[in-house]
Subunit: 215 residues, 2 copies
């Protein structure tokens, strides 16, 4: 792919994973075509917004029967670079790290888990879900030798940002962070923070409305 | 709290957890006041948008020194009903469920974990992080006896939506779902889906731009 997509506004790019999910569900259900009206309903946006997005971003061959589901999925896959293999390590081989190593979506997005790293020396050498655990001391040479570009930060502890900063110096440019302490890098190193706390707060809000309605 | 907040548009409510996180960070750093300009920078929105949100939603006592951080946090806590204790169960006592049972934000949002439930009979009776594992057969009576209102779906398997539907009939109205298969309920039962796949796709996109820039 070319680098042309970088100029798209972030709020438009942010919609693509949701389009992908809904379209993929429709594909699994055997749908070949979908109308802008149906897709708008799934996305919770207006049909004209869907058409606008598709004219700007995606497959715009609407031919009466609707948009071709597979063709759009193919385009999103390319836009988001999901097919490119990204050698990935998981830092933290505890419960969270272990459960993530089983997570199918990693592979679907091109993230291939090559190794665990953990500060607990008792775990060194263990093999979990077919993936070996290495000692943190070896992380720099491993990253360079295995061409690791992505790291999943599954550490519950403080010190996560220091570890991330250290390994970014060896060439890791993509981080998926589960630690509730968030941090940023200078440009060219990218973090996605998983905000489970946001989900919890929204759930609390929704449930509060429900409880109030009952009164 | 009264039920008046339900009429706020969802996109405004969705901002509150982010305000909460940034303001809480500032509070931890010892800040008592923050200006709309500073907060706008953290949130990635315009200062006038911050002032507009605060006039509509939140503490609007801006007095030259800025907004009172603690006062706003207090208001968001009330708006989102975070202080109300919500008796909660985790369904699935595997790696994901276990790691979630340690997650501090649950308690901070009022979700108190009372029990695990698991289909694996070998786990029945075990105590994990101080929380007992029960057999799925007992779930209905447990929910009613212990006044459970929320459930965390930490099942990797299919069948999650059937389990959720079943236990909603016993009175659970709030679900946090980690299963990549998403589903909806009729009104008055609320689901928050944790979309780790969205984070992965965005990370792939960002990294792709980086790799292209290098070419």
């Amino acid at each position: 792919m070319s680098g042309q997509y970088r100029d798209y506004p972030k709020h438009l790019i942010r919609k693509l994973p949701r389009y992908y999910r809904y379209l993929n569900e429709q594909k699994q259900l055997g749908r070949e075509y979908i109308s802008s009206n149906e897709l708008a309903l799934l996305m919770g946006i207006s049909p004209s917004q869907v058409r606008q997005d598709f004219n700007r971003f995606l497959y715009n061959g609407y031919h009466g029967v609707g948009y071709n589901v597979s063709a759009i999925l193919e385009q999103i896959t390319e836009l988001l670079d999901l097919k490119t293999k990204k050698n990935t390590i998981i830092i933290g081989a505890g419960n969270l790290g272990q459960s993530l190593s089983n997570y199918d979506e990693l592979k679907n997005c091109g993230f291939e888990i090559k190794a665990f790293f953990d500060i607990n020396p008792k775990l060194t050498g263990a093999v979990i879900n077919g993936i070996k655990v290495f000692d943190m001391d070896k992380i720099g040479e491993y990253i360079e030798a295995e061409n690791i570009v992505a790291a999943i930060l599954a550490l519950p502890t403080e010190g996560t940002s220091e570890i991330a900063r250290k390994i970014s110096e060896y060439g890791v440019t993509m981080f998926l962070n589960f630690n509730p302490v968030f941090f940023e890098f200078e440009r060219d190193v990218f973090i996605e923070n998983v905000h489970i706390d946001d989900n919890l707060m929204m759930l609390s809000y929704k449930g509060a409305g429900e409880r109030n309605d009952e009164k």
